[in-house]
């Protein structure tokens, strides 16, 4: 299928790109790797009059800052994130999360910033063919929602399927955003609006420039799992990410962050389970209780053929294993870093 004619801008810097977006408004879209935008343009989900391509900009290599945090250029390819010695050493959860995204060629094209800023998806929205003539849904400006006909106008239950976002939120990462008013900082968590219509809290001319992952505290442990059927080139039924720290010289948990992605319009935190864990002993009983609490408090949307009850049960079983992994790492029972665990 041949794409329609669109204008092309190739800025020489991110500031220039932001200026283009400001000038062109809603009619322009930014393409970094293009792996989310161009398939969307093929099925006419997106029809920007201008594509602002960041293809000429090369990312700065990841660096360790004086405070131990890791700064990663938003244009770093996911394959480079997964293979970077520095990131594998300092934030192995992020390297693992980047290595399970989509497929090998896509990981070499797609960027970390683009993975965060990808659009939400739903089967109806993203599996349209060019021979189908259906009235547009809410997200495309129409007056109907096909998968959820009872949804009121303006409610779009499309799902944010990023694999790296839950890991970055669990690691309490921050992003540097540049726009018309200069640069500002925000937590990755606050980047997401929770609305399927407009999933990102970014103004029209704002671009994510860098992601900064803070240095982990003492006795830090992590666990990550993408629940998927094939283990390659697919969206997760859910993406589970856990970061916890153990209290000094005890078997108890000091603080925990549990983030579940690919179940709602944004990655969600299981706040009640986090509270239940903090101050509690990291034993089998607590972990089973916390896993049940996670499954109870989340409210997954059915997506990509997975039902609500399947996703909930799947998370209840697998988050317990992820919590166990994180607890073992925090308590020092497991010195291994970055072992792959998917499926």
């Amino acid at each position: 299928m041949i794409l329609y004619e669109f204008d092309y801008e190739r800025p020489a810097s991110l500031e220039q790109a932001s200026a283009h977006l400001r000038r062109l408004g809603d009619s322009a879209r930014l393409a970094a790797g293009g792996t989310d935008l161009f398939p969307g343009m093929r099925v006419a989900n997106e029809r920007p009059a201008t594509v602002v391509s960041l293809g000429a900009l090369s990312p700065a290599p990841p660096t360790r800052q004086p405070d131990g945090a890791i700064r990663i250029d938003a244009l770093t390819r996911l394959a480079a994130v997964a293979d970077s010695e520095l990131i594998r050493d300092a934030a192995p959860m992020l390297a693992l999360a980047a290595s399970v995204v989509a497929s090998c060629p896509i990981r070499h094209m797609a960027t970390l910033g683009g993975n965060l800023c990808q659009d939400t998806r739903c089967l109806q929205l993203n599996q349209k063919h060019d021979y189908q003539f259906k009235p547009d849904c809410y997200k495309r400006g129409g007056a109907v929602c096909y998968p959820f006909p009872n949804n009121p106008p303006g409610t779009c239950w499309s799902v944010h399927l990023s694999d790296t976002a839950p890991a970055l939120i669990a690691l309490d990462a921050r992003v540097e955003i540049i726009g018309g008013a200069g640069s500002r900082w925000a937590s990755v968590e606050s980047l997401f609006s929770g609305s399927g219509m407009k999933p990102l809290r970014l103004a029209g001319d704002e671009i994510v420039r860098a992601i900064v992952v803070p240095a982990p505290a003492a006795r830090f442990g992590w666990g990550f799992r993408k629940s998927a059927r094939r283990g390659g080139l697919e969206y997760g039924a859910s993406v589970m990410s856990v970061a916890l720290t153990a209290a000094e010289a005890t078997q108890t948990c000091r603080s925990a962050r549990i983030v579940i992605g690919a179940i709602r319009e944004r990655p969600v935190r299981a706040l009640q389970a986090e509270q239940m864990l903090s101050g509690a002993a990291l034993d089998a009983e607590t972990i089973a209780q916390a896993a049940a609490a996670v499954a109870k408090e989340i409210s997954p949307l059915p997506h990509h053929g997975f039902t609500r009850s399947y996703i909930r049960d799947d998370i209840r079983v697998k988050i317990a294993r992820v919590l166990r992994e994180a607890a073992d790492r925090a308590l020092g029972a497991d010195g291994q870093k970055g072992e792959a665990d998917r499926g």
């Binding site: 004619e5 161009f38 000429a56 989509a102 060629p105 896509i106 080139l233």
Partner: protein
């Protein structure tokens, strides 16, 4: 390549792309994807145009040594870059070791996925000359073979990397 560029959608721009060590000047519009330029303007039809949405991997080429899906890469973005296609694996008409391994292992059925597979494997072997079976499968997770002949393809990679597989057809 750090110069800013602006093209109207209905205008063409001449860009230079190095394909298989040969520079080509092609006149492209913004909407032209690299696969269209390779197949229709340069005439290298080895690269296949499959799903056009990044799911099948038949259009995989190497851009600056890294595997990329040419159906999702704007041709203008490839200005000044080195692209390798399946034709570049056999520059003088002699098959490369990985192509010979595909023949020996019967890893070609209908052949539509083969050019993409070969490019993904070429990139893998350049990064990792002796990959394990899980590493091979991970590197090929973006290339679909609808004849489902994956085992023979994995065997072919093992043979090409000198890891002892009995040739099927010799």
């Amino acid at each position: 390549m750090d110069n800013a560029l602006r093209i109207k959608g209905t205008r063409s721009q001449v860009v230079e792309i190095c394909v298989n060590d040969e520079w080509h000047e092609v006149s492209v519009r913004p909407r032209h994807m690299l696969v269209e330029v390779l197949r229709e303007m340069i005439g290298l039809t080895g690269t296949k145009d499959g799903c056009e949405q990044g799911a099948c991997g038949a259009c995989t080429v190497l851009i600056e040594g890294a595997p990329a899906l040419s159906c999702m890469t704007l041709a203008v973005d490839c200005e000044g870059k080195h692209v390798r296609t399946v034709e570049g694996l056999a520059p003088d008409g002699r098959v490369s070791p990985i192509q010979q391994a595909f023949l020996d292992q019967g890893a070609v059925q209908c052949g539509f996925c083969t050019p993409g597979m070969l490019m993904s494997i070429t990139s893998l072997l350049e990064r990792n000359p002796r990959p394990t079976v899980p590493e091979i499968k991970k590197a090929l997770d973006g290339n679909l073979c609808r004849c489902t002949g994956y085992n023979a393809i994995v065997d072919a990679v093992l043979q090409a990397s000198g890891q002892g597989v009995e040739p099927l057809m010799k």
